[in-house]
């Protein structure tokens, strides 16, 4: 009895060894579909970003917009549908690598909208690059991302280099003699604030840093009011900007509040409340709704019962670029990559002309930074900030 048992185990061990070897030698599935088929259906567009966790609020509107774009596309192409595959990185670089690998491994995924943040782009994009899977990010604005030689990288918005000086130019245009600069220490916020500081020079009287998830801003508020600043630039996102602004107003700060595109969303208005947000300024490398909006806002409202949030319009346009490519019969990653390289059209929701240079940046001439002022519970387009 015991003999048999031992032998059985030995056999299993041997089998497993062979099998392990065989398995290790076997190449994984991957790569692209055979391109000969006339029309490839059920293709997927990956949406990559923080869909859960603390930063989801900045990314989910984009996901909704992408869903909307695909839904509209599928209504017209019922015979050959496309779907969105979500990759929820929670905004964490350490999770992004695995998801990127998994997206690469799914041959149906032919393009990625995202990764939404700069940090996760650092870990995910090298993997996409290796597999030749094109990405267009709607919101990762760290300038250095374009310097990595990633051919697949495309940025659907202007980077911090375009926005920072523009924000500074705006602050100069309102003749603020003393400016206080605050950032949230995020890659985005700190980068933007640094550019603003550089451009403003000596008019910056003081600066301070907030932290992720901060609720109590009393120390900064005290510093701001005692500095006598007449304008404040905040580099960061709505999540902290909104309570910060409210506490500033409650603390007696009367000057102008200026932020980047991180606060240019509907939540900034609704969470802060009309009374306190009135007069706040957001700069955004995106043209106002009136120039080329189409029906995006109405469609989004009808679908989700909410105002389109931050980057929803950008994500919508970027998704539509992929859909356009697929609609033209492009079905491999290489084809789509080539399609992007020669693309040159204006987006229907943002009005931005999407045309990328070889580093993947938008044509600087196309990056128009606008200022928006919160008026009566809405972001009213103010002006296009002239290039310095």
């Amino acid at each position: 009895m015991r003999q048999i048992f031992v032998r059985a185990i030995g056999g299993v061990a041997l089998a497993a060894l062979v099998l392990g070897g065989a398995a290790a030698c076997k190449q994984d599935e991957g790569g692209t579909e055979g391109g000969s088929a006339s029309k490839v259906c059920d293709l997927k567009i990956g949406f990559f970003g923080a869909l859960s966790g603390g930063d989801a609020g900045l990314v989910t509107p984009g996901k909704q917009a992408a869903d909307l774009a695909v839904k509209q596309y599928n209504a017209e192409h019922a015979d050959c549908k496309v779907s969105i595959q979500a990759y929820d990185s929670q905004g964490k670089p350490e999770l992004a690598g695995g998801l990127a690998t998994s997206a690469v491994g799914d041959a149906k995924v032919v393009g990625i909208v995202g990764p939404a943040f700069s940090g996760e782009s650092e870990t995910a994009n090298p993997i996409f690059q290796q597999a030749g899977l094109p990405v267009i990010t709607q919101s990762a604005t760290r300038p250095s991302l374009a310097d990595n030689g990633w051919a697949i990288f495309h940025r659907g918005v202007g980077n911090d280099f375009s926005q920072g000086p523009a924000a500074a130019a705006y602050i100069k245009s309102i003749n603020a003699a003393k400016v206080f600069v605050v950032d949230d220490q995020s890659a985005y916020g700190a980068g933007l604030a640094d550019e603003v500081k550089k451009a403003l020079g000596a008019t910056v009287v003081a600066s301070d840093k907030a932290t992720d998830n901060q609720q109590d801003f009393s120390a900064i508020v005290t510093k701001v009011t005692s500095s006598g600043a007449t304008a404040l630039f905040y580099g960061g996102y709505t999540e902290e900007a909104s309570p910060f602004l409210k506490q500033l107003r409650a603390g007696g700060y009367k000057g102008t509040f200026v932020g980047g595109d991180g606060i240019y969303d509907a939540n900034m208005l609704s969470v802060t409340g009309n009374a306190d947000v009135e007069g706040a300024v957001a700069t955004c490398p995106c043209a106002p709704a009136t120039t080329a909006k189409g029906t995006f806002v109405q469609d989004f409202k009808a679908e989700f019962n909410a105002e389109p949030g931050v980057y929803a319009d950008v994500a919508y346009d970027l998704t539509k670029i992929y859909l356009e490519a697929i609609g033209e019969g492009k079905s491999s990653r290489a084809d789509i990559q080539a399609f992007l390289k020669s693309y040159n059209k204006a987006g229907s929701a943002t009005g931005v002309t999407y045309k990328w240079d070889d580093k993947g940046e938008l044509d600087p001439a196309q990056v128009r930074v606008w200022s928006y002022i919160a008026k009566n519970g809405a972001w009213a387009p103010d002006k296009e900030i002239p290039k310095a």
Binding site: T211, N213, Q215, A219, P243, K246, A250, N267, G273, N274
Partner: protein
Amino acid sequence: MNELINGFPVLTVTGLTQGAIYALVALGYTLVYGVLRLINFAHSDVFMIGTFGAIWTWSAFGFDANSPRPSVGGALGLIALAIVVAAILCGIFAMLVEVTAYRPLRARNAPPLAFLITAIGASFVLSEGMAAFTNRRQFGVPAMLPTDPLFSIGSWQVTPLQLTTIAVAILMMVALDWFVQRTKFGRGIRAVAQDANTAALMGVNKNRVILLVFLIGGLMAGVAAVLSDMKAASTRFNVGFLIGLKAFAAAVLGGIGNLRGAALGGILLGLAENYGSAVFGTNFRDFIGFLVLILLLMFRPTGLLGESLGRARA
């Protein structure tokens, strides 16, 4: 340094205000620790639920972030109502945590570290449950009290919100102190904290006392949640984490298990953070809080006032 000197009065008042909120939350940690020797990690999420309780109450009366400020009388009424609702809500959730996550373990006399894991589990359930329920959205708090200073003495100014916060916090702490020191239930809590077995021999129902302790901790967190709502002006499902961490540190600072220690620790932490932020920058705010805590523990290993619930008198 200049910022500290110039802003000293304001920093002190705002630090006291924030400290009062920490103290109220810290009471929940310290009460539970005093009786069960357990760090109730889910307490921060109970607090978070309270911040929503207040917002829901106000929105039931048609107040959202865009509403105009109500009259002072109306505002005080609304605040009182929100405090009641949030306190009850937090009390219920705190008791639910005890009944579902801790009591079954106690019945099996589980080792202390097992409680830590169910505490973490309960914390996940509450915060992620709320995240799903609110679609992870951020909510603005309606404006309630006027923001102009109520009175000023030299450069010392106090706004109505600061006065309300500090007054309510002091009121709650005095009431709690009276309850624990003077009433029969309070004696039961202290008895269980000091010697649970002997307390049972005196006819004290341990489980009922523990439930009561969670209820009180929840009530305090609920009150703190309303005050914090008005101060911070917004809330989301993850607001509990940081404030919970600070409140826990405050409880340890004062001597965990000691009610007056929690109050003292909260206020000291609030002040230290504000002064420190002015000198070193707000990015070092949390660093300073922990540094103060660690340095203190090096020299007074059981916190400022020592441990044990109800022993402050002895």
